[in-house]
Structures are given as C-alpha cells and as structure tokens.
C-alpha cells in the first residue's frame, strides 16, 4: 500500500523512477517554474484582495502543516516535467548528444511517456502531395503563411514537417502508431484538423479513402439535420431545443466568435442532433463547451489567419469561409464531438454516474499520493464534488484557455480512455499543481474560493505538457494496480 511509502508514491517501479536515493529521474529543478508560480500567486492575491471583505483567516478549523509529510512536491513535478519536455525537444528535433545527466534522465522519463523514441526527422524539406477534394490541403501551401503569421519557431516547423511526412508521404496507409506517438506531445495547429480526424476514427488510416469517407459522413450528418432538426418544435423535443437555444448565447462569453449568429446556429444544430440521437443522456449543460474546440480546429483549415478567429474582433465567419466549407466544418465538428462523448456517455446519463465514479476515484488517488493535501481538504470539510464536478463535467474547459484545451486534447485523443480514466489522472495532476497554494489556505472559505477560481489565466500549452507528463506518470504507477482506485 502507498501509505508505507512516505518518500515516493512509486513502490513497485522504483527502478524506473528512482535510481539514486534523492535524485528522481526527470526531476531536476528548473528556474522558469518559479517565475510562473509567482505570477499565479500574484493573480490569486489580487483576487483575494478583491473579495477581502469576505475573507477571514482562521474562521473555521485550523490546520497544522507538516511539510515533512509531503509526498510529492508539485513544484518538483512541475520543474521536472518542464525539463523533460525541454530536453525531449532538443533530443528529437536536433541531433544532439545527451551527455548531460539531467537531460539523460529527463529523456528517459519522456521516452517512457512516449513508450518509444520518435523517428528521426529527414533532412530535406517535404512537399506533400495534394489530395484534391479533401478538406483543404492542410499544411500544403498555406502552412508557410500560417507558420510565419503565428511566428512559430523553426523547431515547430520541423515538427509540422514530421507530421506531414506521416500524413502525406509514402504508402497510402498512414502509420497510426507513429502518428499517435508524435501527437501525444502535441499537434501543430497547421495539421491538427487532419490529425484529429484520424485520431477520432472519423477517417480511416488509408489516405486514399479520406475523401470518400469524409464525404459520406458529411452527407450522413446533413441527412440527420434534414430528418431531425425540424422536430425541434415538436412537443417531445421542444424542451431540449429550448434549453439549447437559451444556452448557446451564454457560451464562451469571452470569445466573440461564438456570439456570431451563424456560428450559434451551427452549434445549436450540432447539439440538438446529438441530444435527440442520444436520449439516454440528452442535452446536459457543459457538453456545449465540448463542441467549441472541435469547431475551432475544423474551421481553422479554411481560414488563412486562424488566430484572428479566436481574437476579440474576429471576421464574420461567412465572409471568410464559403457556405460549402462551413457545411463540412459543421459535420466534422459533429463527428469529432460525438466520438469524444461516445467514450464518456455515462458522464451525462441520469445522476451522472460516470462523473461520480471519477470523483470518488480522484479522492482515493489523492489520498494515496498526497496524504497531507487530502487531509487538508478533508479537515476543512471540502467535498471533492464541490470543485471537481465541473472539471469532469466540462473536461476542464472552464479552467483552461481554448489554446490549452486543444493541446490537452491532442494527448487525450491518443490515450486509450483519454477522456475517461486518463482525465482522472489529468485532474489529479491539475490538483497537485496547486498543492502549495491550497495548503496555505487556512479555512473552508478561502480554500473553496481558490479551488473554484484557480489562477490559470497565464497558462500556455507549456503548462499542459507538464500536466500530461505528470498524468502519464500517475497512470503508469496506478493503472491496474491491485486494490487501487475505489470502485
């Protein structure tokens, strides 16, 4: 049992994780970590000051902090994972010998997360073939424009080429294993639509069949719309439609793209069609937030400057995307969204048993990994349901920016049970990230306010890389462990 392992949560895989008595592989300190933490602390401080009239140190129970009880330090995890990712980039993108011990350790950890090393990049610049008819040749021609406009680094350009090699070069059958390995660490926005279609089983690995399959799927969606959308005024489906209709304008209030009437109509159709085709759950608030990432990804392949779309003053969608292309975007969004939900349907059936189970498991996991944090939460009468419910119900879309969500989902689309069991580890890693701040809160009120308003404003995909690496580590240790994770 974990309880007898105060120094490390990894009793069985000691040889993998703990080579020295103190140095844990992939856990060197990195300076940049402390900087972002300071910023986080600042923003939370601002927040606390703004509600200072409601704050009261020590009004509930008290707690004794004992740092000695600490099992995992999120600071260490954070810096470790950062360095893992840094060194992984160095080692895979350039041919650089790994003499440094830290980098070597870090690479080992990352390799474990990737299960295998990724193939080496070819030296020449790749010009993928053009496949007419298939939704806008991603990364073909337009990549250069997008790359420079998003000022991606040259290493990012190399990464894009790697993806393009897999997607467009060689035999018509895509090597899905290679693609998954590469995608786990993030998919460049230029190739994300193609990659997500493949990872969502929307199109088959055989490239020659992409176009025909996609065309068929799109027709299928539009047939649903034709047959079912008119039932929105029926007595049976009217309530579902009314609910979606009043919810859509309240979605993503900070992204003007989703205030455009045309975009709202698209979301409304997608949600309504999904809801009436899945009567066991129907429409549950929160799943609307799971549509937007797919929409943004699939529309991005039709616009030259996709960053503009998510800006504060996006162009009108119908001005920059043809009606025909928008029909494809809508259908692709529907199928991507449907695929995601098919893995977590019990999250949204009556009484949401899937979420209840995950939250129960989260509490169990935290208790095993970090007794101090768990005791702190319990001492202040905080129920995991009170903060983790939204995390699970909306898959952290409320906690993370869209950009971060996309990066997170790159990994989750690759992971088996990526939006189910793996999200449990993601949520746990997310909670551990705030450990120190949480332990500083001395009463129910401040703890709850922090848990419900975690300062992720400045998060970038870099933080998500740390999060996924840590989630993978937790999964590696706990998945399938006997007596583990309460039923």
């Amino acid at each position: 049992m974990m309880s007898s392992q105060p120094a490390t949560p990894v009793p069985k895989q000691n040889s993998l994780w703990k080579r020295g008595s103190i140095n844990v592989p992939g856990r060197p300190k990195l300076k940049s970590a402390s900087k972002s933490k300071a910023a986080d602390a600042d923003s939370f401080q601002n927040f606390t000051e703004s509600v200072s009239d409601a704050w009261d140190i020590g009004d509930d129970e008290f707690c004794n902090l004992s740092i000695g009880d600490m099992i995992i330090s999120p600071g260490e995890v954070h810096s470790a994972a950062l360095s893992v990712l840094e060194s992984h980039k160095q080692s895979t993108l350039s041919v650089k010998p790994n003499a440094c011990t830290d980098a070597g350790k870090a690479e080992a950890l990352q390799r474990l997360a990737m299960k295998d090393a990724v193939p080496r990049l070819p030296d020449h610049v790749i010009h993928p073939k053009h496949y007419p008819g298939f939704p806008r040749p991603i990364g073909q021609g337009s990549t250069a424009v997008r790359t420079s406009s998003e000022s991606e680094t040259s290493s990012e350009a190399l990464r894009i080429q790697k993806f393009q090699t897999i997607l467009f070069e060689g035999s018509s059958s895509i090597n899905m294993e290679e693609l998954k390995k590469l995608s786990w660490s993030g998919v460049p926005s230029a190739v994300r639509p193609d990659v997500w279609r493949l990872l969502s089983d929307y199109v088959p690995p055989n490239r020659d069949r992409w176009e025909s399959v996609a065309t068929k799927k799109r027709e299928e969606y539009w047939n649903y719309v034709e047959n079912y959308y008119k039932t929105r005024s029926d007595e049976q489906n009217g309530e579902t439609y009314r609910q979606i209709h009043i919810d859509i304008p309240r979605m993503a209030p900070l992204m003007p793209l989703f205030q455009q009437p045309l975009v709202q109509e698209i979301l409304e159709r997608i949600l309504f069609i999904w809801a009436i085709r899945h009567p066991a759950s129907g429409y549950v608030q929160g799943i609307n937030d799971l549509v937007t990432p797919f929409f943004v990804v699939f529309i991005s392949e039709h616009v030259e400057r996709c960053l503009e779309l998510t800006s504060n003053s996006p162009p009108n969608v119908d001005k920059v995307v043809s009606a025909e292309a928008l029909r494809s975007v809508e259908a692709d969004t529907f199928w991507g969204f449907s695929h995601l939900l098919s893995g977590i349907q019990d999250h949204y059936t009556f009484a949401q048993p899937g979420i209840q189970k995950r939250i129960h498991q989260l509490a169990d996991l935290v208790q095993r990994v970090d007794k101090t944090l768990h005791a702190h939460i319990a001492r202040h009468d905080i129920d995991y349901l009170q903060f983790a419910f939204r995390w699970m119900n909306n898959l952290l879309t409320r906690e993370l920016s869209l950009q971060c969500t996309l990066r997170l989902w790159d990994t989750c689309l690759v992971e088996p049970q990526g939006f189910g069991l793996f999200y449990l580890y993601i949520c746990a890693a997310f909670l551990f990230h705030w450990r120190d701040e949480l332990l500083r809160q001395m009463d129910f009120q401040s703890l709850m306010l922090l848990l419900q308003n975690l300062p992720t404003k400045d998060w970038t995909p870099k933080e998500i890389e740390v999060l996924t690496a840590e989630a993978y580590r937790l999964k590696y240790v706990f998945d399938g462990a006997p007596n583990h994770l309460a039923k």
Binding site: D59, F62, C63, P253, G282, N288, F389, N393, R398, F444
Partner: protein, 212 residues
C-alpha cells in the same frame, strides 16, 4: 475578521433566471451581461452587518438544469436560507416554482428561510409575470418576496440582507439551534464555548490577533 454568526445560503431556480448574476452583484458589486452556465455549484461569500453584528454569508449558487438536480439537492441540507429565483420575463420559470419549493421543503431543514425573488425587474417591457402574482405566491406559501434586478442592483442587497434578518430573528426567538451546524448556522469564534484554538499552536495564526 471576526463575526458573530455564519449563515449558509443556497440559491435555486430555473436555468437562466439570473442566480449567478445575483450572487456576483452581491459579492462583487458588478454585472456580467453574458454569464457562463453554472455547472454543479459555485461558491461565494460576503460579510454583512445586522443589528450591529458582523454576519458572514456563505452562498452556494446552484446549476438550474434538471440534469444537475441530484447533485444540487445535497446542498439544501445545511442551508439556513434559500433564495428561490424566477425571471419576471419568462412565465415558465414562475410556473416551475411549486416544484422547486417542494424540492426545497423536502430536502432542507424545516426552519430554512426562503426568499422568493422575481429577478430582471429592469426589463419591464418584457414582463410576463405581474408583481402581484409573485406576492400572492409568496403569501400562499409563507415566503418573503422581492423583485430584484441583478443588472441595476435594485433590491439585491436587500434580498440577501433581509433573508439574514429573518434568520437572525429566528435565532433570537430560539427557533434555530445554533449549535447544530446542520441548520446552516454557525456561531462566530467569540461566541464559541472557548476561545482557544483547537489543537493549533500554528504560528501563522497569530496575525489574526489571537482571535480568529
């Protein structure tokens, strides 16, 4: 900051009636025209003064969608006050009050003070529910009634504070057992049986001046 009492509230009512906006206006004194859907429950808090006494309000704002009812029901227990909110521009939200009230009465302690609130009173031109109807419903079911606007802040303070006054009066009358936290009321530290920090000795607490 010390307080005499802590009261716990719950805000309930159909989705989109303005529950979260009422809370935001009360705790932050601002209005957000487009408010994201509340998922599960959200927490807010503020200190108020009644009869010269500091009272801390801790408020659970609940999701209105039926699908979340099994989650939000558990928050009735342990609430001393409830704001039951409808939207004066949407008749259906008024029609659903009976079922909300049944739910509340069934799952809460019997002394819970319920304030009925007709929100969005700034939208007079779109009004579908007359003020008299709200008053009649409140009278019939023994509730306190008020029309509010989270947008203009009209009556928002009053709604939360008058609910607290009712609870306070019930305490004075001895209706509430203040030593039973399940009632949603907690005595402040200086009213407690002892001023000693239970099992503490934590240095960081000294900044609160010896008393929390």
């Amino acid at each position: 900051m010390s307080y005499a009492y802590l009261f716990k509230y719950i805000i309930i009512g159909d989705t989109g009636v303005g529950k979260s906006c009422l809370l935001l206006q009360f705790t932050d004194k601002r209005f957000q025209p487009v408010h994201d859907l509340t998922i599960g429950v959200e927490f807010g808090a503020r200190m108020i003064t009644i009869d010269g006494k500091q009272i801390k309000l801790q408020i659970w704002d609940t999701a209105g969608q039926e699908a979340f009812r099994s989650i939000t029901r558990s928050y009735y227990r342990g609430a001393a006050g409830a704001l039951l909110v409808y939207d004066i521009t949407r008749r259906d939200t008024f029609d659903h009050l009976t079922s909300w009230l049944e739910d509340a009465r069934q799952h809460s302690n019997s002394n819970m003070v319920i304030m009925l609130i007709g929100n969005k009173s700034d939208l007079e031109s779109r009004r579908e529910v007359k003020k008299e109807e709200g008053e009649a419903f409140a009278r019939e079911h023994g509730l306190v009634f008020m029309e509010t606007s989270a947008k203009t802040a009209a009556n928002v303070e009053e709604a939360f504070i008058n609910t607290a006054k009712e609870i306070y009066e019930k305490i004075q009358e001895g209706v509430f057992d203040v030593n039973n936290e399940a009632n949603g009321i907690k005595l402040g530290p200086q009213h407690g049986p002892a001023n000693v920090h239970p099992g503490s000795g934590n240095a960081s607490m000294s900044q609160s001046g010896g008393c929390c």
